[in-house]
């Protein structure tokens, strides 16, 4: 049985879709079978970031409403054999997602794939709660600024109350992915520091992704950053985050700071 991960944040524009694509591609490069599912019905983006927008025939809503089979809707990545995309519908809205339909699709995907990564829409309405409902673990994407942190905190509350795991009385595994981090600006006080975010959210950190032009460039050429330029700083941070998701224990490094002499000082473990 595969693991279901929801990538969520509450706030929009913090990097959920980018992170879903990057983590999916990073896990697929470890030769694990990965499907990324776009839950942002009506505002689909994941197909663009994955570079599959011209190959979308059927989508999640078609599958849920029984108009297409899951195998017809899944799109295999052109670069990675083991990476698949289940796109969202652009013409429908989130009311077309039914709890039973989502459950059926997720259960089917879990049987075939090692990782089912659900890209949640922003907000806390039905689209977001359905995306997190069947998750085994959550990646909470947060920018180092107060509104994003507060929205993430709200989402963590929902993860602990509205998911199947929570309703069964189990503990939902939650991981913090800090994106668009700029060490210099954090040092100047323009951004929250890593410690501040961790203190407020009090969930373990799986990665710090530096603010970088590489991310935008990768999105625009339709490639997850971990595929476009595997040696760039954000890609390396995503690779490390993917290894931590898979259960490896690695020290967390704050990107943008010189490694070497300072590496030891700034290397730190997840909270």
């Amino acid at each position: 049985m595969g693991k279901v991960i929801v990538v969520t944040s509450g706030k929009g524009g913090v990097g959920k879709t980018t992170s879903t694509a990057a983590l999916g591609a990073a896990l697929a490069q470890r030769n694990e079978r990965v499907v990324v599912v776009d839950f942002d019905v009506g505002l689909r983006n994941l197909d663009l970031v994955m570079g599959a927008e011209r190959r979308v025939v059927y989508d999640l809503i078609n599958v849920i409403q029984g108009e297409a089979k899951l195998t017809q809707a899944l799109i295999r990545d052109k670069r990675l054999e083991t990476l698949f995309l289940l796109p969202a519908s652009q013409t429908r809205d989130k009311d077309n997602l039914t709890p039973e339909g989502v459950e059926r699709v997720i259960t089917e995907l879990k049987r075939v794939f090692d990782w089912v990564i659900c890209d949640s829409p922003a907000g806390i309405e039905s689209g977001a709660t359905l995306a997190m409902r069947h998750a085994d673990m959550a990646v909470v994407v947060t920018n180092p600024e107060v509104s994003s942190v507060r929205d993430s905190d709200r989402i963590i509350g929902l993860l602990d109350s509205k998911t199947m795991k929570a309703e069964r009385g189990e503990r939902m595994e939650k991981h913090l992915l800090l994106t668009r981090y700029d060490a210099n600006r954090a040092e100047r006080g323009d951004m929250l520091k890593v410690e501040d975010v961790l203190e407020i959210l009090s969930i373990p950190l799986i990665g710090i992704i530096p603010e970088s032009m590489d991310v935008l460039r990768a999105s625009n050429i339709g490639s997850p950053v971990t595929l476009a330029d595997a040696r760039s700083a954000p890609a390396m941070a995503y690779f490390e985050a993917a290894r931590r998701l898979a259960g490896e224990v690695l020290p967390i490094t704050i990107p943008g700071e010189k490694r070497g002499i300072f590496g030891k000082i700034f290397a730190r473990r997840a909270a």
Binding site: R150, I156, D160, I200, S202
Partner: protein, 242 residues
Amino acid sequence: MTKMLTDARSIRIKGRSFLAVVLAPDLPFDDWLVRLDDLAARSAGFFLGRPVVLDVSDLPIDRTQLKELITELAGRNVNIMGIEGGRPSILGPGMPPALKGGRPVSDEAVAKEPIIELRNSEPKPSVPEARPTLQSIVIREPVRSGQSVIFPEGDVTIIGSVASGAEIIAGGSIHIYGTLRGRAMAGSLGNASARIFCRKLEAELLAIDGIYKMADDMAPGLRGHSVQLWLEGDSIMAEKLI
């Protein structure tokens, strides 16, 4: 160090619970209204002067249907004070406000009136004892933004932080072993001796017995410190702990 936190005239905001009858209609409304009329015929004036809450949870209705239902009920002298479980999309201006957080007590069917549920928002008064037991709850995890802890019966202890946008409402005192970034309202049912304690004060709002203080009105020297707050007359007093 003791600082005055409130000026002499302050606004009192208090929580109060009332007993309301909850009506939970079912579809189709026409049939349900016939049964309601039948009930009204048997016990005339049942709804007269009673606050009624309409519970529309899980009903697949739209705004027009809800409006019609409210009009139908008004024609039967049933005055709706609030709507429970309604999706925001079916509520609108000119409708009774949405209510939430109601706590059901054991459903009591009124004799021969099977469609009425009685719900009490306060715990049923227990048999008077010589020594009333004081109640308290302990919450062992952080209270997240958007969550409310409401415990009118007594003290609330939180082992963890209270996030910005979260609120704690206690009938007694509030103890927070973490950072208080949200709202804390102690003595909510009129208990002037209630206190608020926190390991680190970053609160948005503090209130004791209905007297409240916003973040901007707090002495800046208290921010980030371990603080206790209490009420003297109509003023919230604060003192650093340690």
